[in-house]
């Protein structure tokens, strides 16, 4: 009898996949095996490496233009070399995208059959070649109907995509993939993110149906309950590393959450003895922000005087929207009070005048005048809002260059900004030093409350620590109330007094920094209250 090494046949086998971008390792030794008809979930926080892994699988140019990847990919036991998404499609790998890739003006059939049309030779094509053959709409419609029936959508195949409800578009996408004859592996990238609950249920149902026909499914999501409902096996990625692969039935939501977040947090020992007072500095009630991709849908939150409040959550859940809304950069409504005084919303000037300052997550876009000097960047907001650093001649004003220079030199020294001098333009600074200039600008305003969004995004490890230390120092020495929004839970836990987790535009809950990984994982996945059955309180 022939002994098979693994006793099993894998339709997709990715072995020891690794990837480096410009010296930064984003994937290391990832192994994923898919059996036919299996639903395999890939779990991980933002930045865990899920997208990069999919880019490798689909041979996206971003991988190949940056030096390729390590490891091997086998399809049906055969080693393959996928260099473009088209090749991936030919090899039988399909993807249902998070954002719909459909052409609104085309009918469902046309969308499903796009670039794979069934054609008959016609008069023109005999002269001018295959490109000009006539479409066989009848057979195309039949094929489309078949695929639509498979996903269980009763909609007519000749209807135009424009104006279809979101869920239908999702199903059309799936039908398009199913229509590809040799489909072996289908990737679902956060498919339920835009669906209502009942539609999501139907989608999961459809996934099971597809799998039962022998197609393997890779299911990328961060909704743990869905994973538990449909997935056969799960693979958890964290910081580009393969954490574990196991059968879903041997795991539970708590463990998944733990595995997803879990990392050794080095608490800076003494950091959190200063608990902040219990005086409410800022009161946020029924707060809505219309920021594309980061919508806030009704947050109630109290911020205490002299604390560092961390705001965490997954990308797109609204954590970024909170600070941007309060500062008036995106349209917002609700009730925000500072020291009992109402803050006028939708007016950046008034927000600044009332003693708020903001270090934006978009450092190069919003945070800096890239072609202006460090000194001008440092003082300009204060000059506008408080009229400082000016010499006055009646109604006329002139910049007070001497004062500006003095102040900039002080900031450069205090924050340890590495530069050739205060007149260097900020474009030439490194990310960390640019961030410090942004902080210097906010500090020049002498704010009562400082909002800092993603302060360590895109800067190297050493600079990260310096930026975080600066925030702690400001908080300790000047008692400044700081609200730090970050995607990196680890750094929130390092310096915050309390951490508020935002999920789906609402406050999911507030945790102390030393709460367990499980709790953080559950909250970020929006499962905390389903699991623990507690209500959300504004005061945490």
């Amino acid at each position: 009898m022939k002994t098979e090494h693994n006793n099993e046949h894998y339709v997709l086998d990715m072995r020891n996949i690794g990837k480096e971008y410009y010296g930064t390792r984003v994937l290391k030794d990832i192994n994923i095996q898919l059996k036919p008809g299996e639903i395999h979930a890939i779990l991980g926080e933002n930045g865990a490496g899920k997208s990069t892994l999919m880019n490798v699988l689909f041979g996206m140019s971003v991988i190949h233009s940056t030096g390729g990847f390590e490891g091997e990919v086998f399809i049906d036991g055969e080693k393959v070399n996928i260099n473009s998404p088209v090749e991936a499609m030919e090899k039988g790998i399909g993807m249902v995208h998070q954002e719909f890739m459909l052409i609104p003006g085309y009918s469902i059939t046309e969308n499903i059959k796009l670039n794979r049309e069934t054609t008959n030779p016609g008069l023109l094509s005999r002269v001018a070649g295959k490109k000009l053959e006539i479409l066989d709409m009848k057979s195309m419609n039949m094929d489309a109907r078949k695929s639509l029936d498979k996903v269980g959508v009763g909609i007519e195949e000749w209807v135009k995509v424009a104006g279809l409800p979101v869920s239908f578009m999702q199903f059309v996408e799936i039908a398009r993939e199913l229509d590809k004859e040799n489909l072996k592996v289908l990737v679902f990238d956060e498919p339920t993110a835009v669906l209502t609950e009942s539609d999501a249920d139907r989608l999961l149902e459809t996934m099971r149906k597809i799998a039962s026909e022998g197609i393997a499914i890779l299911f990328i999501t961060h909704r743990l309950d869905e994973v538990q409902r449909v997935a056969d096996r799960i693979t958890v990625l964290r910081d580009g590393q393969h954490v574990i692969t196991k059968d879903t039935k041997d795991s539970n939501v708590n463990e998944m959450a733990n595995l997803m977040v879990g990392r050794e947090i080095k608490m800076t020992g003494e950091s959190r003895d200063n608990e902040g007072s219990k005086n409410v500095k800022m009161r946020i009630r029924d707060f809505y922000v219309d920021m594309p991709g980061e919508t806030v849908k009704g947050i109630n939150l109290d911020i205490y005087e002299g604390e560092i409040l961390g705001i965490g959550g997954l990308a797109g859940q609204g954590k970024i929207g909170l600070a941007n809304g309060i500062m008036g950069l995106y349209k917002s409504e609700g009730n925000v009070e500072l020291d009992g005084k109402k803050i006028s919303l939708n007016n950046p000037e008034k927000s600044l005048k009332q003693g708020l300052a903001f270090v934006s997550e978009d450092r190069r876009g919003v945070g800096l005048l890239l072609d202006s000097s460090i000194e001008l960047n440092t003082v300009i907001t204060s000059m506008q809002i408080q009229g400082t650093f000016l010499k006055r001649y009646g109604v006329f004003t002139q910049r007070d260059n001497k004062k500006i220079r003095e102040h900039a030199l002080k900031m450069i020294k205090d924050l340890d900004i590495r530069c050739t001098g205060p007149s260097q333009i900020t474009r030439r600074l490194s990310g960390g030093n640019q961030q410090k200039v942004c902080i210097a600008r906010a500090l020049t305003l002498n704010p009562k409350v400082l909002f800092v969004s993603e302060p360590t995004r895109g800067i190297d490890v050493g600079a990260k620590k310096l930026v975080l230390d600066t925030l702690v120092q400001l908080n300790k020495e000047y008692g400044m109330t700081i609200i730090m929004t970050s995607s990196e839970l680890a750094e929130l836990r390092m310096i915050s007094n309390r951490i508020a987790i935002i999920n789906e535009g609402k406050l999911e809950g507030i945790l102390p920094p030393d709460a367990s990984d499980v709790d953080f994982g559950l909250m970020m996945a929006g499962e905390y209250h389903k699991q623990k059955g507690e209500g959300v309180r504004a005061d945490g």
């Binding site: 950069l329 978009d362 072609d371 202006s372 506008q384 004003t397």
Partner: protein, 346 residues
């Protein structure tokens, strides 16, 4: 070698080409025995008379509306001021002063409305501005026919409307040029004209260093940043547009007094192109401009034009329009070059 490279990058290819071309023309002029002193005098005068028109580009660029191809709006206001001065039968400096004072409110209002319009077409300001410029020139061509000016100096002797060119002889022709003018050898230095230009440069320079000017530059440089700093970006753009329009109105008055004629109808049509080309030659981009860009640009651009005409005439006796051809080739070429540089920053 590295130093040369840095210097080269800082100076920029277009300027090096233009300066080389100018030197080539000057050598040719010397060899053809064209009196250099006359050329230099001419270049100075033309720098001074175009300087403020070139300067009018600065607030537009810095406020973020890009190259203001719409300065014919301001030019028309300035022309109206000049015409009013004649209508009121004024002479000398009074005439210039009154012309400026009359054009001021007109250009402020026109600039405000124009600014409102530009705020609605963010991203394609320059295209819109070009057509606004053309439209206003055409509209005013009707205006010149129907406006109720009665001075015999300005009206056609027969028929209705104003003449295409109205002489300023005896009114305020060249009075700035001649004020305090002195000679160095055979070169005449137009003191008043140059001082007047420098005075306006100084005003703009001071404005740019004020709080309002600083906000305007921030709004033009990075609107998102400006908004986050509590600056009203739309307001700043309107202020920049108004300033640009006012400066172009003053600019055309200075231009006309030096030229000796007020030119109506189609004359202002392409004036923005010369101003745009000059500031770009001076080293400005569509995002950044300084006063030194204005002065260097105006001088280089006008010098090339001044020198190329007699040289061309000597070499090719019959092609007297070569200077005009050179002007069109250089100005459109340099504008084209600048527009290809958009967004090459990062």
């Amino acid at each position: 070698m590295d130093k040369v490279k840095v210097y080269y990058n800082k100076f920029g290819l277009p300027r090096i080409i233009i300066i080389s071309f100018l030197l080539f023309l000057l050598i040719a002029a010397v060899m053809l025995e064209i009196p250099i002193s006359a050329l230099i005098s001419d270049a100075l005068v033309r720098t001074g008379m175009n300087g403020i028109l070139v300067l009018s580009m600065v607030p537009g660029i810095l406020a973020g509306i890009g190259l203001n191809f719409g300065i014919p709006i301001g030019i028309v206001c300035g022309l109206l001021g000049g015409l009013m001065a004649i209508q009121l039968n004024l002479y000398g400096f009074t005439a210039i002063l009154v012309a400026v004072l009359i054009s001021l409110p007109l250009s402020l209002v026109a600039g405000y409305l124009y600014g409102l319009l530009l705020n609605r077409v963010k991203g394609s300001e320059m295209t819109i501005a070009t057509y606004i410029g053309f439209s206003i020139v055409s509209l005013m061509s009707i205006g010149w026919l129907v406006l109720p000016f009665t001075s015999e100096e300005m009206r056609w002797p027969i028929g209705t409307g104003l003449r295409t060119t109205i002489t300023l002889q005896g009114r305020f022709e060249r009075i700035l040029n001649q004020w305090g003018a002195f000679k160095i050898g055979d070169v005449v230095f137009p003191t008043g004209l140059i001082l007047f230009m420098l005075f306006f440069c100084l005003l703009v320079w001071l404005f740019l260093r004020s709080r309002l000017g600083t906000s305007m530059i921030a709004a033009g440089d990075n609107p998102k940043f400006a908004t986050a700093s509590g600056i009203n970006v739309n307001k700043m753009r309107i202020i920049g547009t108004m300033l640009s329009t006012v400066l172009s109105a003053v600019g055309i008055i200075v231009y006309s007094q030096s030229f000796g004629f007020i030119q109506l109808y189609q004359a202002p049509m392409f004036m923005s192109f010369a101003a745009v080309a000059a500031i770009l030659i001076g080293g400005a981009t569509i995002k950044k401009a300084t006063i030194s860009n204005v002065i260097i640009g105006a001088f280089l651009f006008q010098s090339v034009l001044v020198v190329s005409l007699p040289v061309a005439n000597k070499i090719l006796a019959d092609v007297s329009s070569l200077a005009e051809i050179a002007r069109i080739v250089i100005s459109n070429g340099i504008i084209l070059y600048a527009l290809t540089q958009i967004g090459g920053g990062e």
